[in-house]
Symmetry: D4
Subunit: 221 residues, 8 copies
């Protein structure tokens, strides 16, 4: 009663200590008011990085009402607080976007990895229809500790990349496409059936999950 937050959420602010990574706030199924109350609750904990994912315009406004200095990336639908990217440790996280339309999801992965403490780079428009574009990035590809590959449509890029590098590949299917792409299912299946080993897959459009996992893989020893 006295704590309206308790009516709908039980924040896990100890997760950073328990697991090494903080809990994120998935906005999509929450009302702006619920998001605002959570933002208020975390405002007293600047020691924990809080990411607000899948935030629409109204969610963003709600977060900014409580945390005016939060960083907001509308394309990736992500807010972060505190807003400063922490110093990076561990190996390089490289994020590839097969096409322009895969960019919002790729960007969510890239920002997540950076806010979780890794150095990260983002490369765009390297689809397999123009193979010279991938092959021209071989040195960069081979310098990464982990490669996140975002692709929709045929989802063929992770197989090609995994055949070229030593690092694990986190395949990130996107819902880009139409018809028999089934909202990303075609790309998802392609990635699950990669003929190259070293590929694992996250949910369709799950840029946050891909970036989080990449940060874990690229942890310093």
């Amino acid at each position: 009663m006295s704590d309206p937050l308790a009516d709908f959420a039980d924040l896990d602010l100890g997760r950073q200590d328990r697991r090494g990574y903080p809990e994120a706030v998935y906005c999509a199924g929450k009302t702006p008011e619920q998001v605002r109350l959570i933002a208020e609750a975390v405002s007293g904990r600047p020691d924990v990085v809080t990411l607000f994912t899948r935030a629409g315009e109204e969610h963003a406004a709600a977060v900014l009402a409580s945390l005016p200095d939060a960083a907001w990336d509308p394309e990736a639908r992500l807010l972060a607080w505190p807003p400063t990217v922490p110093p990076s440790t561990g190996g390089l996280v490289l994020v590839l976007a097969a096409g322009t339309s895969d960019l919002p999801v790729a960007r969510e992965a890239w920002l997540t990895a950076r806010y979780l403490g890794r150095e990260a780079e983002l490369v765009v428009d390297v689809g397999v229809a123009g193979l010279h574009r991938v092959l021209g990035k071989l040195d960069l590809l081979r310098s990464a500790r982990v490669v996140v590959v975002a692709a929709g449509m045929d989802g063929a890029l992770p197989s090609v990349v995994a055949g070229l590098v030593r690092a694990p590949v986190v395949a990130l299917p996107t819902s880009v496409g139409y018809g028999a792409s089934f909202g990303g299912v075609a790309a998802l299946l392609t990635m699950l059936n990669s003929c190259a080993p070293g590929v694992s897959v996250v949910n369709i459009d799950n840029g946050y999950g891909a970036g989080h996992l990449a940060a874990q893989i690229a942890e310093p020893a």
Copy 2:
């Protein structure tokens, strides 16, 4: 009554004249005895090439009982009569098999194209996990009038090939794989969603259809 063939089939021996290509006999759903009666019926028409597709051991024996000199390729499950490959006309049909397990289906496509009057070549084990294998065949790829690409699992090879050549690509998904390959559905979807234009798709394991279509595309002007 007097014609047991009429009880189950009505052969279309005029198809060669009407459409330019003969009717094939799909054995999979027929009894060996039915196949034997058809073989007997075509034995009087050496002017028409008859292909018996998806022929198991017993189907093959039934064909050979009526047409002892028929050519039989057990791996492709194909019989042809008359057995001699006709002289080739038109452009080159190139058939790629992504992996060893795709070979039976690729071979069915290759033999079909040859029996329908085209020059055809077969290249094996050029999957995208070892891209140097595809790139090493660029000259051959670019000399073809049409490329048939057989692949299971992730089915990524047609996208890569179509990005490299001017010729149309007939994508031939195979049922090679397991788990979420769903008997070739994953490869089929990949191919339907190819990010490279110039790709069209036939049914899973339909080597005959791919070879037939390739022969039509590579027809002489």
Copy 3:
């Protein structure tokens, strides 16, 4: 920074030389601003035909802002620049639309083939429920080097056409229908399972892909 285009795209203007056909710009997943920047970038290359596909009203406005004389077909959601259809070479591309509702997709195929340099004709409302309509076009059908058949609902027309002509058939399923048509999946499956050989299939509503492929098949020798 200095090149905002590089933040989201890496144009492949050499594709015409490498593959014989230019890259198209798929607008659906791009912002109007991204499309405008691409239109600006290609404005210096009138030697390459650029097609903008799946362009909504706002995408079209963005293209026309940079390329005011571009040709725009709102029904097909296609823009072309330079706007003049090039002189045609090669064989005839015939595009059939089974019903009125299949027309936008059929039109996209027809325009694509024409802008890629082929003679092309478009015939509408020839569904199998009134077979006399197809049979009345037999001479035209048999004069084509390739036939694109757009159909939704039962998707039965390509099977019927392929049984009547010598030319390859590019089956183009559309999302026309309701209920168990599953947005074009029923038509797609019908076409993949065609009992007539000589049929291959592109993605649902992929008029661009069908037209491109048809242009390749009908290339001059």
Copy 4:
């Protein structure tokens, strides 16, 4: 205890009176011993026609042990007792099989209609890839009160037939095909989405159901 039949079945011998058509015995999920006990139980009721459907070799032997004069059609996997086809009343039931492989299912429909009291004819190998074969049967088609059309693969025949006749069409998808036919699902979907009105659909391979329904439709006034 004293009645072993009661442990697994409760025969509905009054169905003929209640609904005008007798209950059939679906053998597929029953043990031969269970089928034998049912055959024994109906042996005292020659006034009711009993059909045993989906009967394998062992089921047939079990029926014949109790009803030695039962009629058995192994291809249709059907037994009937009493074995004599009753005199026919009502309109003509016409059963079409698109291909040879659809014959067992078509035959089950044809026999069912006859044992339920209708005149019925069976025509085979009239697939849409050779349209002249259908068109050559127009008079017969137009003389029927109802047409059952069995087809696998693309399942396109019912749409074509329904566009040619006044009678209702019972579409009977079969599991004939491979790959993306998904055991008859492709044909089923084609039929559900028929662009010609006058088509309804029964379950895949449900020859009994199609024949039963046709008998009801063709009932005498």
Copy 5:
């Protein structure tokens, strides 16, 4: 050019003579302007009943612009012209709606049967959760020549009805439901797997098809 209708449609006004039933105009995929032109074209043929199905508000306005006296049923999204229901012949078509939400589709079936010349009755809210409601209509049910049963959710009503009557049952799945009803697929599957013989199925929400088929089944001898 001079005939704008020819650009998108080829009306089949001879269908009434050829098949006994007129062609209907499926509005869903057409623009209001296209529908208006068709309405104009049929305005000279009052001898043929024309039904406009799946007509939204704008489609209806377009029809009424050309045919001001057309009958319009907004709930069924159906227009008919000429507006008068023709005199009925043949047997009774009975249409059941399992629940209130199934009413629009059931109504489309009921009106179609009436405009195609049959006597038809409509009964609502007879779902299986209250079996007494079905059982209370037994006499009416048994007086019908054919029963159309519209149901969404579990789609169980056709099985129950078919076990009670001698007449054929046309099962009409609706998209009523949520979650695992998958837009009517659950009801469709239930109906295809009916344990009672005498049931066939049309597409989800296809009230027009069900009514048309019922009219054919109930034709006078």
Copy 6:
């Protein structure tokens, strides 16, 4: 005519006597006017609790027009009349919501159980990613006669809960999630395949059904 309600509904007000629980009014497929007429009809029967489920804003207004004192919970989209929760009998119904986004559905279950006469408690945000939150509620969990567990995404919570308690678990999948959650299908499948016995499943987002069933399970002896 004189009773507009009879045109679309046949209320089952005797269900309370026949089955012990009243009929609910599913608003989603009804017009506000239809809902209003039903509300009017039940206004004379305060002895029966009527729940209006899946009521949008307009449905709610329609109910309140006829039953101004009805209780309305907009989050659960539920109205109840008479508005007072009846005295509770039987065992405790415990409703868990795995995450904040599952709350509307969980709330529908919780309110339903209470209006059907059970004591019920609602606990929120106890997902398996923070297992300590579930384990901290063990005493409450073990005091329940039945536990309803609402979860989307991976739907893993019911398996975990069922391994901890003696009471039956009603698994309530929600459509919370994205991508390969397929609108709740992933959670539904998880729950159907629970490795812990004692779990049964209702339809996705079917809070009403879960609450109703829980009330039946927790009935007083």
Copy 7:
């Protein structure tokens, strides 16, 4: 090393105390040797009822090698040890099998409920195609504390039963059927979408789970 059981299993013999019901041994994925070792391990614990489910002939032999007096029901593929059914407490569990083919699964549910301490009855062949058979059992149906309804094909029986009784219904879909029954999926969906409240569903063919849940629901107060 010294304990070969530990290489593949970690028995949970404390589950009876923790949850009130013992752990069962799912044989399907285990080797006979593994099952034998488990049987040996439980042989020292006659205080706990151990059920071996989905036991083939070889599994049964392996159990009987270690526990020669175990009770074995080959039709239900179930073994129980100690073999004596415990005295029953709580309410009546009623198990219905829609058809003969559903009997093995229904029997597994019935035996499970009895071995877990409930009184249970089994009724067979009460499918909805002959409604009089269900209606003839109304008194028995209404005396049960919980009803398990096993049905394949259309899976319509649980909806009908739930509309007739006050007790909760555990719907148990079976894989009985063919074609579009998809191995029980059609029945599963029907049950999930039941238009009658009071129905929840377990996995296809999960007789053990249904019986276990029913035992929990029918627990003494």
Copy 8:
């Protein structure tokens, strides 16, 4: 001709140098004779570890014919040559098998990780139905650099584990289950939708892929 291996395969023995990990031989789609020829070919390269995966009895015999000292694990269907496990470097790979039936796949992952140079441990029967079994291994879980979690049925274990550890989790769905587990699809979907971050997924039963990826993740810095 002189090299029969070239007819079906093009070994990639340079992969170890190029990518750091050797190519494996997927036996499932190959004939024993093909496998034998490959084994012969690698016999001259003891510097490269060759794994033969998905090897049936006949495949194993074929490998052992050419490489008599190869190590063979029939349960995991894996052969390795040279047979000695190399010295381990990098972090600990921990492999969990939820149930006994998941053991073959888990074992394939465990052996793969070891042959690719990592320390690896295997823990069995830690399913979520008995949570104390997981919680009892917390120290071991938290000492791993990466955790592979093999689970079928509900596939809930990876979500639970990922909520407890800092290390990345490789979720490995298995085909263990029945009915609506759809051969592992249910578990796959659960894992893709994990509500705990840090989980990525490989194909169903892809123990080799999971072990390979885990080896990459646990590489020494």
